[in-house]
């Protein structure tokens, strides 16, 4: 297996394949919309997404700006995602909708599942492959490598993986694509990209 491309968005900024990207510097609290604008995309659905799905979407689009996935067919790519806090922020906003704002908000409720973000990515790319979402205490590189091996054994050509988390004003977004080719990935290598 080989890492085709990776994207980490941290407080320091946007890293693509380990290199910081000045073009996408996080200048405001509204960095997701800022980067969306800089990417010059025309995808109105973005504005309806919750913070978690927006982060995953931005991370994916940044990767696609430097790496083509067009050689993959629509069943080829498995989406393997995990985070610590599930849909925490949106859960709280949904509760607020019925405890303080009059009535439960259906558009919020739909996002109270973490795997909605994998659905958003699948829709964006028209990818019909496998999807799975785990809740873990911390990013675990060995766990991801195990999962990738499982999905390669089952025939996936590539895995789009991610750790996307948002709770108590702490946001984390790390996405990477692994292709089913010769070679090994070490947990240390993956963790290095994650820690940027």
């Amino acid at each position: 297996m080989k890492i085709l491309v990776s994207c980490k968005i941290s407080d320091q900024g946007v890293y693509l394949n380990g290199e910081i990207q000045q073009k996408y510097a996080k200048e405001t609290d509204n960095w997701k919309k800022d980067i969306y604008s800089k990417l010059e995309l025309d995808y109105p659905k973005f504005y309806k997404m919750d913070a978690l799905a927006k982060m995953a979407f931005i991370g994916f689009e940044l990767m696609e700006s430097v790496c083509s996935f067009e050689h993959f067919e629509d069943n080829d790519v498995s989406l393997l995602f995990a985070n610590r806090n599930s849909s925490y922020d949106t859960d709280l906003r949904f509760i607020e909708s019925y405890t303080e704002k009059g009535s439960p908000g259906p558009s919020l409720f739909v996002y109270t599942l973490p795997n909605i973000l994998t659905g958003e990515l699948a829709i964006r790319k028209k990818w019909f492959g496998e999807n799975i979402f785990f809740i873990q205490e911390n990013f675990d590189a060995e766990f991801f490598i195990d999962q990738i091996n499982f999905y390669f054994r089952k025939g996936s050509k590539a895995c789009l993986c991610g750790w996307v988390d948002s709770a108590n004003d702490k946001e984390e977004c790390f996405l990477f694509v692994v292709e089913n080719t010769e070679g090994e990935i070490t947990p240390e290598e993956l963790t290095k990209y994650y820690k940027q």
Partner: protein, 373 residues
């Protein structure tokens, strides 16, 4: 008939056996089956359960006594596992626990909703490894079993205990109410007069292992499984059943069986207009129109993260007893594609059973079970 598995690493067969079943219809696997067989439903009107104090029909476990429903259900399923599986297996170095839940203890907010799950499992079951948690909407349970198989085939573990669990909460009831997805009578999957979902709560546990249970308990073979996204809409089912169609095809291929040899389908069948319609279209595209099918949501309600697990347990019970359970609430064909929904219990031996699930996020998952020789 096919059925030889394409398993690797010296693991020639995978077996599923009962770990426990806590639902509105009972606290044991046997009690649940007896109640289903006699046509009882665990779905009853619950007074003032709605946001505007409506009395929604829900699959509520009436025997719970503590304030925290989720915690009590989790403790009960742990006790069932200790009794049915034993501490030796549960805390073995070669055993992993996988939890399938959509919301875990949602009442813990703003504290972490999954912390208590880890703590209770540690205290009650003393596992050698931290449990794995899958939260993938309503397909979580089927995915937990498929993931268990992945780990055993890769020879990481000999046994994986899969636990599906969700409790009733205002959060979930108000949420589905806000989507206008709740039915004002007990849900009627696949029926002409279906109007929506009845939410429920439950926990179920299945033991996935590379060997048969040592005590000679009933088990079935797991042949294969898969998932597929609709790539269509985050909360609406595909109009063509594309993801479900692809997942069933992939699962059949991995199981090395001919789809036409499937004897029975335990469908997802939530009771909403669009979901059930979508499933009928997918089954029709696969020429599965004459295969007996049921939805078990009329017995338990839709138990979200528990659904896949408790419905696989029910499927195993049907295989054990040679009895297909009727699909509660179904009276008249209500999908544009005709499928063979069971309106009465039917005595029939099942060799190959298909379990399917579909959920928010466009997810679809399936797995195939074979009766063990």
């Amino acid at each position: 008939m096919g059925g030889k598995t394409k398993l690797e690493n010296g693991v020639s067969e995978l077996y599923l056996s009962y770990g426990g079943l806590i639902t509105p219809l009972g606290d044991t696997v046997t009690e649940n089956f007896e109640n289903m067989r006699s046509g009882k439903s665990g779905v009853q009107k619950v007074s003032e359960s709605g946001f505007n104090k409506e009395d929604w029909p829900l699959g509520k476990i009436t025997s719970l006594t503590s304030e925290n429903r989720y915690t009590e259900i989790l403790e009960k399923i742990c006790d069932a596992l200790i009794e049915n599986v034993g501490n030796e297996v549960l805390s073995n170095e070669r055993t992993l626990i996988i939890i399938s839940s959509t919301k875990a203890d949602i009442t813990a907010l703003p504290s972490d909703t999954f912390t208590s799950t880890r703590a209770i499992l540690k205290k009650k079951l003393n596992p050698a490894h931290a449990p794995l948690i899958i939260s993938n909407a309503c397909i979580s349970g089927v995915m937990a079993i498929n993931t268990a198989a992945d780990y055993i085939i890769a020879d990481k573990y000999d046994t994986v205990i899969t636990i599906g669990i969700d409790g009733l909460s205002d959060f979930i009831v108000y949420g589905f109410q806000s989507l206008f997805a709740l039915s004002d009578q007990s849900s009627k999957p696949f029926d002409k007069n279906r109007t929506g979902i009845s939410i429920g709560e439950a926990a179920g546990a299945i033991v996935v292992s590379n060997k048969k249970p040592e005590n000679g308990a009933f088990c079935v073979n797991y042949l294969g499984g898969s998932s597929s996204n609709d790539a269509n809409h985050i909360s609406g089912p595909s109009r063509t059943g594309e993801g479900l169609f692809r997942s069933i095809n992939k699962t059949a291929e991995r199981s090395n069986i001919d789809i036409q040899d499937i004897d029975f389908i335990s469908a997802h069948g939530t009771g909403t207009l669009y979901n059930d319609e979508m499933e009928s279209i997918a089954f029709d595209r696969l020429n599965l129109n004459s295969v007996p099918v049921n939805s078990l949501k009329g017995y338990f309600g839709h138990t979200l993260g528990a659904a896949g697990i408790i419905e696989v347990i029910s499927t195993m019970l049907m295989m054990e007893h040679g009895l297909l359970l009727k699909s509660p609430g179904f009276e008249e064909q209500g999908t544009t594609k005709k499928i063979n929904v069971l309106s009465e219990n039917l005595e029939k031996e099942i060799q190959l059973a298909l379990k399917t699930a579909s959920g928010f996020g466009g997810g679809n998952a399936s797995l195939i079970l074979k009766k063990s020789l």
